[in-house]
């Protein structure tokens, strides 16, 4: 495996456009990994609360209730 210094040298040898593409790609992959970690933690918590396997219509009802609750709060402010 290349050292970080070697890797940096390889990257700066690339054309500017490729460097930008690479940086964006790394940012996107980091986002995807962070999202996966968040999903794992979220699922673990829901499972511990016995809420992971609840029917979709119950999830929807809760999402709708929250949506209208937040909207109502906004209009009263």
């Amino acid at each position: 495996m290349q050292s970080l210094d070697d890797l940096a040298q390889t990257i700066i040898a690339l054309p500017q456009a490729d460097q930008e593409t690479l940086i964006n790609k790394v940012a996107q992959l980091n986002f995807k990994k962070g999202l996966s970690d968040l999903a794992d933690n979220y699922r673990r918590r829901l499972a511990s609360e016995n809420r992971l396997e609840i029917p979709a219509d119950e999830v929807w009802a809760e999402l709708q209730r929250i949506r209208e609750e937040v909207a109502k709060r906004e209009s009263s402010n």
């Binding site: 593409t21 964006n24 790609k25 940012a27 996107q28 980091n30 986002f31 995807k32 962070g34 999202l35 970690d37 968040l38 999903a39 933690n41 979220y42 699922r43 918590r45 829901l46 992971l52 979709a56 999830v59 929807w60 999402l63 709708q64 929250i66 949506r67 209208e68 609750e69 937040v70 909207a71 109502k72 906004e74 209009s75």
Partner: protein
């Protein structure tokens, strides 16, 4: 990877069904994983709803994700405009959905991505397009 050209307001239900990895909504997680191919817009209504679904640690992780990927995600605290909200309500949207549609217009979103059937059914009456995650994915160059 080209810079994203489309701006998508991703509705709360996609942010919830995606991380749940719910088999009934498999494309929700795919849309979230594809952020960067489009810019995801996150308006105040979505943030406030997520706060009521996620705990403090999960919310911190969510903010960290957004903060570390400004090229792919745009967080907005710009509140919805009352007149616009009312115009969407007049078209048949419920108040919360009207706020989302109004935010999409203000943030110059190309579309709203949602699994919300009732929201999707008002599709013909709204200036803002609403697509399901699977329909939205077809708009990405490498997936059509």
């Amino acid at each position: 990877m080209n810079l994203p050209t489309e701006r998508w307001l991703i509705d709360t239900n996609v942010w919830i069904f995606g991380p749940r990895r719910d088999e009934r909504y498999p494309d929700s997680v795919t849309v979230l994983e594809a952020i960067g191919s489009s810019v995801a817009l996150v308006p105040p209504q979505v943030i406030k709803e997520l706060r009521l679904n996620l705990n403090d640690d999960e919310m911190k992780a969510f903010y960290r994700l957004l903060k570390n990927f400004p090229e792919g995600v745009q967080l907005s605290w710009q509140e919805a405009v009352a007149e616009k909200v009312q115009s969407y309500r007049d078209r048949g949207c419920r108040k919360g959905d009207a706020i989302i549609a109004s935010s999409a217009e203000v943030l110059a979103a190309h579309l709203i991505v949602s699994n919300n059937r009732q929201f999707l059914q008002t599709i013909n009456n709204l200036p803002v397009r609403i697509l399901t995650p699977s329909e939205a994915l077809l708009r990405l160059p490498d997936r059509s």
